[in-house]
């Protein structure tokens, strides 16, 4: 049983070796010419203005959560689309039921003010 996982172990060891070798090699043989700009904290190329640890509005959390829910639901469309030729009309009907459920949830969020910022 355990021996089935030996290839996985080999794979892990090789990946660590390769990554380690590359980083070490670039450290040893790469040219090193530091300057002020290169030593700055890299933040998507923009000069940092404030520390990152400040309070965020809890509304971001709500919006992010709603986004995740609908985002993950959308993933279900892919296997459905691949298998549609097997599922036929049943599959189409089923997906419309699924979307109806989502639509009810969306209507609920909308009506209850979940999408409003203030």
């Amino acid at each position: 049983m355990i021996s089935d996982y030996v290839p996985l172990l080999i794979f892990l060891v090789i990946s660590f070796l390769v990554v380690g070798a590359l980083v070490t090699a670039s450290f040893l043989i790469g040219p090193s010419k530091p300057n002020q700009r290169k030593l700055q904290v890299y933040e998507s190329g923009i000069v940092p203005t404030t520390p990152a640890r400040h309070r965020l509005s809890v509304r971001f959390y709500l919006t992010a959560m709603l986004f995740i829910i609908f985002d993950v639901e959308a993933v279900f469309f892919y296997p459905w689309a691949v298998l549609l030729h097997v599922l036929r009309w049943y599959g189409i009907a089923e997906m419309f039921v699924f979307m109806l459920v989502l639509l009810v949830a969306l209507a609920h969020i909308w009506r209850k003010g979940g999408l409003e910022w203030e």
């Binding site: 049983m1 355990i2 049943y90 599959g91 949830a105």
Partner: protein
Amino acid sequence: MVLIAAATYSVSYSADQAWSDLQQVSPIAAVVVALLVAMVLDLVLPRRAQGPVSAAITVIGLLASLVAALLLIDRGHTAYYQFAVADNFAVFFDVLFAVLGILAVAVSHAYLARRNFLQAEFYVLLLAATAGQMVIAQANSLVSIFLGLELLSIALYVMSGFARQDFRSQEAAVKYLLMGGFASAFVLYGMALVYGATGTTLIPAIAKSLGPGSSTNALLLLGILLMGVGFAFKVSAAPFQMWTPDVYEGAPMPVTAFMSVGTKAAAFAMIVRVFATGLPGLSGEWAALLAFVAAASMIVGNLAAIAQSSVKRLLAYSGIAQAGYVLVGVIAGGADGQASVLFYLAAYLVMNFGAFAIMVVLAGPDGDRDRIGDLDGLVYRNPVLGVLMTVFMLSLAGFPPSVGFMGKFFLFAAGVHHGFTWLVVLAVLMSVVSVYYYFRVVIHIWTPVEAAERRLRLPAAAGLAIVAAGVLSVALGIVPAALFGLAQAGAVPVAGLGGG
């Protein structure tokens, strides 16, 4: 080069098959339809009408679910490529959860209005939790079990924080979310390892894949251990019980009533389904694990309950101890062990829900009144409630002729019959300890108060539910044969153990 599109599917899913599968899960479908209808009506109806209409929709949906479950008795089979099943075991739990839901609506209705809670949302969450419980009951695969578990848990996380203005309720919700998340992670990791060891998530297929070498398979044993830990969290068994008192105390009373019975029954459905039917060949291994958990629960639950001054916390610790008793039946195994578990869970539904329901009625507009002193003179303030609370306490303590006595009798008989005498001796000793704290409640109920001025008004629906639970607590104790027959019919036949 592999062409994914070249794969041909010999299976086709016909409309007849779809219809047949849907019938097998019709109890769940009825609950989900009621949930959607309640959600839509919540949006279109004026605010004043929402509460009563949502309650009515919820009860109608649960009644439809109950009928659908009863129609499936002896006629169920597997559905959705064996991911779901409607055997009598599943149907027994479906009926239990539908009844629990109806009782919960009856008890909550007046409470929600009095405390000015959002009513429609409460019922929608109640239906979602019930659907989750039923999915667990009807699951026949590790995947569908986990789906049901999450559906149930997430609805309950929100419900425990339902008193948004109450700091304790918020605390309960956060604690429950964190501890529940840990438990889910344990269960899921265990399931992944079992899947890795057996190559399937279907429970009958797991049972078939076990062989002589299984008991030394490290992956499988680790998987069982992790699932056992997760399940013990969910049934609130020691040493994984620490969230229970805090969550029970903080959550609004009807939620506590609902989840004290609901999660426990659902988690036991899960334990029996996965361990007894899925891993019968390893019963020695998981029984040893569960025996430790059972013994610890009985000791911790009963000893800690003695010192409680809040009825919610007292009943939480009592619930931990009760989980220990029920585990005796699970460990015993066999048809009689399983039947005793089903019987006790039904008994627990009427007596424990009844006790919590009376605490719901006691609550004021500002919050729950759950100090043990709040029960002083209950029998003089409202004789019906006082007498019934006494009945529920005696039943939980296991006095004849209550249903609690018969339930414990069946559990312990199964335990002795299958050679777990030491565990049963411990259980009986600890039951004696439990008499002390159940009687403390009874003494408070019968303590004369100076002026029985505050007559307690009993809302009609809640009163009906409490009286029904009280009558059943006594009636099923005197005539247990009918319920025990159903429980025996619900026991899952276990292959290879000769359980009978």
